[in-house]
Every structure is written in structure tokens, then in C-alpha cells.
């Protein structure tokens, strides 16, 4: 009955793994950061679906913290680039 949820969760995890290609390859720091941000968001989605599949709320707490920390590191890298970091 709940197989669809785990299938979608695995799909989102696989998409995050595909986004990692850009993170490894990306020519500039901004490219890597964007790919990392997308991977973070996708892992949050996968965690929501896995929490629904397993019926345990602890994964949702982890997803909240992941979403909150995602913005912090994006802002950090953005500020670093703005104040004259290397490409």
C-alpha cells in the first residue's frame, strides 16, 4: 500500500545524486553552490516522503534542520564571493 512513497523517495535521492555531477564538474564556485543547494532541497523532499513511509516523525525534524542550514551556507558562500573571493 505504501510502496509508491518509497519509490518516489528513491527517485528524489537519485535526482540529488544527478545534481552532484554539476557539483563535481562545475567550472565556478557559484555553480557548485547552486548544485549543492538543489541537492539539499531534494534530500529534504526525499526525507518528507521517507517519514511518511516509515511513519516516524523524527525524519521531519531532520528535514526542518536541513532546510534551515541550507540557507545559512548559501548566504555564506554568496557573501564570500561578493567580498572578492576567488572564482
Amino acid at each position: 500500500m505504501k510502496t509508491d512513497l518509497i519509490v518516489f523517495a528513491v527517485l528524489f535521492g537519485a535526482l540529488a545524486a544527478v545534481a552532484m555531477i554539476r557539483l563535481i564538474k562545475g567550472p565556478t564556485g557559484a555553480d557548485r553552490m547552486v548544485a549543492g543547494d538543489v541537492a539539499d532541497t531534494l534530500i529534504c523532499c526525499a526525507m518528507i516522503l521517507f517519514a511518511l513511509y516509515s511513519g516516524r516523525g523524527i525524519y521531519l525534524d531532520i528535514a526542518i534542520i536541513g532546510a534551515m542550514l541550507g540557507i545559512v551556507d548559501t548566504m555564506l558562500v554568496g557573501r564570500f564571493l561578493e567580498k572578492g573571493g576567488k572564482k
Binding site: 518516489f8 535526482l15 543547494d37 532541497t41 523532499c45 516522503l49 521531519l60 526542518i64 548559501t74 554568496g78
Partner: protein
Amino acid sequence: MLMWIKIISDVLIACGAFFALVGVLGILRMPDTFCRMQASTCVSTLGVLGVALGGLLHAIFVMNSASTAVKIAVICLLILVTNPVGSHAIAKGAYKAGIRPETPMETDDLGRDSE
């Protein structure tokens, strides 16, 4: 009745997965840094919205759990509110650090005005 709700929630999650796929493909295929940022917005708007709406339906009607539903809504709101701030910071930082597309942009008002 429960069957229909399951089907609707699956369709919503599938829509989210489709837009997430569009965003990830856009990150891989777009020609320059700023266009990749544009594509990445797809993931964090309709991708997250689809998953969150489908998950909300599932949590309310199938699991009957209020705390799960509220937490999913908060994750969705958090991502939707914070994502533009992050992508604004990255775009401005990338422009200030001197990252430009390989083929120069035809209209570049920011470059014109900051000279």
C-alpha cells in the same frame, strides 16, 4: 474515498518529481552560471510544493497525524521563504566576483551602470 485521496496525493507528488527533474536537467544542460540558477528555482518552487501538498493529503487523511501535517507545511514554507534570499545572494556574489557567461549578454544594464 481513501483510494481517491491516495491517487490525488500520488499525482501531486509525481508533478513535484517532474518539476524536480526539469530543474536538475536544467542545471546540467543550461549554458552559463546565471541560467543554471534560473533552472534551479524550479526545484524549490513547484517541486517542493508538489511534494508538500501530496504529503499533506497523505498525512491528514491516511495517517491522521496533525503533527506530521504541520511539520510538512512548515518545511514547505521555510524553503519557499528562504530560497529567494539565497539565490539572490549567490547571483549578486557571482556577478561581483567577475563570473560572466562565455558569450557576452546583449543587454547588461548592471555592467553598464557600475562602470
